[in-house]
């Protein structure tokens, strides 16, 4: 059996960042990748997708964005290229085309069984990403058979979709797909539940610049009030475009997108939508108002007021009197932009919670020597961002080295 000290599963930003940290400490390791480096970015993202964060906010351990458009937003293909460049720059020992079949206890710690054979190791880092398996609600099974159902990872561009479309979910993916489809001339209805509304820019600066400046992206998992809630917050209702445009429900309605409440049921050929749209919009507006207050306070107390533009608060969300029911006979397609589900069929059940998510404390799993990396709000608000996985990888590699030391001292 081949052996190494650490097996990293997944060669996206998280796996590569960990590889870099381990290389710096001269720890022998391999990075297993089911397909190729940055596979999700290559094959599971739609054509027009760009990052929500500006290019300058792309700082991995030992490697940052060096292009000539720091304020722009990378396309998925550019992210894939960026990560391939990173892999080369750090000389990560990636084994592509290697799928993990199981992780079990072994003589020296763990045995990672792959379709290319088993690997013995003392520590395992799971860095398979948080956005691979769509989470589709159970009511999907109740949709009439003529409806084509699509998750964002299967969508490529507007030519994939014909006829009237119901997009379920108004986070980044749902809002962006609704926008793209409406702009291509499709008749689009967007079902909106809890969402986080943000302007692309505020007072002339990117909203992520403000969040980074205020330190909000660095909020820690062990300091946030309700961690479970923070971890399941929907993604930010944002889009990265060369025009830096704001994508909110007002903009979507101006593009012709019809807005309805959260999809709550399907009764025969009738889709039913919650009557809570007004409350969801009011909550998003209030939350946005509090963030902008915080930004204004920060600008005032730090003397930034002369340097940034005057306050340009977005108008309150226009809430239509929505339809509570729609006949699905008029629709051809439903897009489930309802988030992602954990998917670890190769992990022991006792390492997972009842929904199949990895049980961990800031990425440290219950089994000594096992770690997770790159999950939402794993150690910081930015944990699942390109810019956020680096500090997490540094923290966890330090923890991992302690584990290896203890392991070694026990064996002496």
């Amino acid at each position: 059996m081949q052996s190494t000290t650490v097996t990293i599963i997944g060669a996206g930003q998280a796996g590569l960042a960990m590889s870099k940290c381990l290389t710096e400490s001269s720890i022998d390791h391999v990075v297993l990748e089911r397909s190729e480096v940055a596979n999700s970015w290559r094959s599971e993202r739609w054509d027009s997708l760009r990052l929500l964060t500006p290019n300058w906010l792309t700082r991995l351990p030992g490697f940052s964005y060096r292009g000539d458009d720091p304020d722009g937003y990378m396309t998925a293909a550019e992210v894939a290229t960026f990560l391939s460049d990173y892999r080369r720059a750090i000389d990560a020992p990636v084994r592509t085309g290697t799928s993990v079949e199981s992780v079990a206890a072994g003589p020296d710690g763990y045995v990672v069984t792959t379709d290319q054979g088993p690997i013995g190791c003392r520590s395992v880092v799971i860095a398979t990403g948080a956005c691979s398996t769509p989470k589709i609600p159970a009511i999907a099974a109740d949709l009439p058979p003529h409806i084509r159902q699509l998750a964002p990872i299967h969508y490529r561009n507007s030519s994939d979709v014909e006829g009237r479309v119901l997009v379920v979910g108004a986070s980044a993916s749902g809002a962006q797909l609704a926008d793209e489809l409406a702009r291509s001339g499709a008749e689009v209805t967007l079902a909106v539940g809890e969402h986080i509304r943000l302007p692309r820019t505020y007072r002339g600066m990117d909203i992520h610049w403000w969040m980074d400046t205020l330190g909000l992206l660095d909020d820690r998992y062990d300091e946030v009030e309700d961690l479970a809630r923070a971890r399941r917050l929907p993604s930010l209702q944002l889009v990265g475009t060369p025009e830096h445009r704001t994508l909110d429900l007002n903009a979507l309605q101006e593009s012709g997108v019809g807005v309805v409440g959260r999809l709550v049921g399907v009764d025969g050929h009738t889709a039913q939508f919650s009557g809570s749209l007004a409350n969801h919009c009011a909550s998003a507006d209030l939350k946005l108002g509090r963030l902008l207050d915080e930004i204004d306070d920060h600008a005032r107390t730090r003397g930034l007021d002369p340097e940034v533009a005057p306050a340009d608060r977005p108008a309150a969300t226009v809430v239509p009197t929505p339809r509570n029911t729609l006949s699905l006979d008029d629709f051809s397609t439903v897009v489930w932009a309802t988030g992602f589900a954990p998917n670890y069929p190769w992990l022991d059940e006792h390492l997972l919670d009842r929904r199949g998510a990895i049980v961990h404390d800031g990425g440290v799993m219950s089994q000594p020597g096992m770690y997770a990396l790159g999950l939402p709000f794993m150690r910081r608000r930015k944990s699942s961002f390109l810019d956020g996985v680096g500090p997490d990888a540094q923290d966890l590699s330090a923890h991992l080295m302690n584990h290896l030391d203890e392991h070694a001292s026990r064996r002496r």
Partner: protein, 187 residues
């Protein structure tokens, strides 16, 4: 409508009046627009009192014979004073009252004499929803079960048809089973 059968049964529902109202409101749709209003005031803790008196309908302000008040509260297991039914129980009360009024009306209209109508309404609630323990558990009832025990001059099939028609024409059944836009504002 079968006049002979309808006159034979007396469930205390003025079906003739309902039929007359239906004709009148078909002719004058504005008369069919009703607004019901409940006024709620906090008392203390989880205890509050809700009253109904005035409403609007048939094109004019209307009133109940008197003000009806209901106190709602939480039970002692939640360390509350238990000054009345819980608000979710009020929903069950509303559903039961509405369905039974419908059973009596439909039976009357079909000439079915009722001798006794009893219903048990059960709402199953998982508190993991409202306590924020589990985001995938809804705040509302996971399901509501209604059992009718009806003694009437009719076959079981006829009674089942009455109960089915009652659901079809019930306001509260519709409110509970179908989404409704709710707008809450602070004035």
């Amino acid at each position: 409508m079968s006049i002979t059968e309808a006159t034979a049964a007396d469930n205390g529902v003025d079906v003739a009046h309902l039929m007359h109202a239906r004709e009148a409101m078909t002719a004058t749709p504005a008369a069919a627009q009703f607004t019901f209003t409940a006024n709620n005031e906090w008392v203390r803790g989880t205890h509050s009192r809700t009253s109904v008196k005035d409403f609007f309908g048939v094109g004019a302000p209307q009133s109940h014979r008197q003000t009806y008040s209901v106190d709602t509260d939480h039970p002692e297991v939640f360390s509350s004073a238990d000054n009345g039914p819980t608000p979710p129980e009020m929903v069950l009360i509303g559903l039961a009252g509405c369905l039974t009024a419908g059973v009596a009306s439909v039976a009357q209209n079909r000439g079915i004499q009722l001798r006794s109508v009893k219903a048990t309404v059960e709402g199953n609630l998982d508190l993991a929803g409202i306590l924020g323990i589990d985001p995938e558990v809804r705040n509302g009832f996971g399901g509501i079960d209604v059992s009718y025990e009806i003694d009437a001059d009719a076959t079981r099939e006829e009674i089942e048809a009455v109960v089915a028609q009652s659901q079809k024409r019930s306001t509260v059944f519709d409110v509970v089973t179908n989404p409704t836009n709710v707008t809450v504002k602070v004035v």
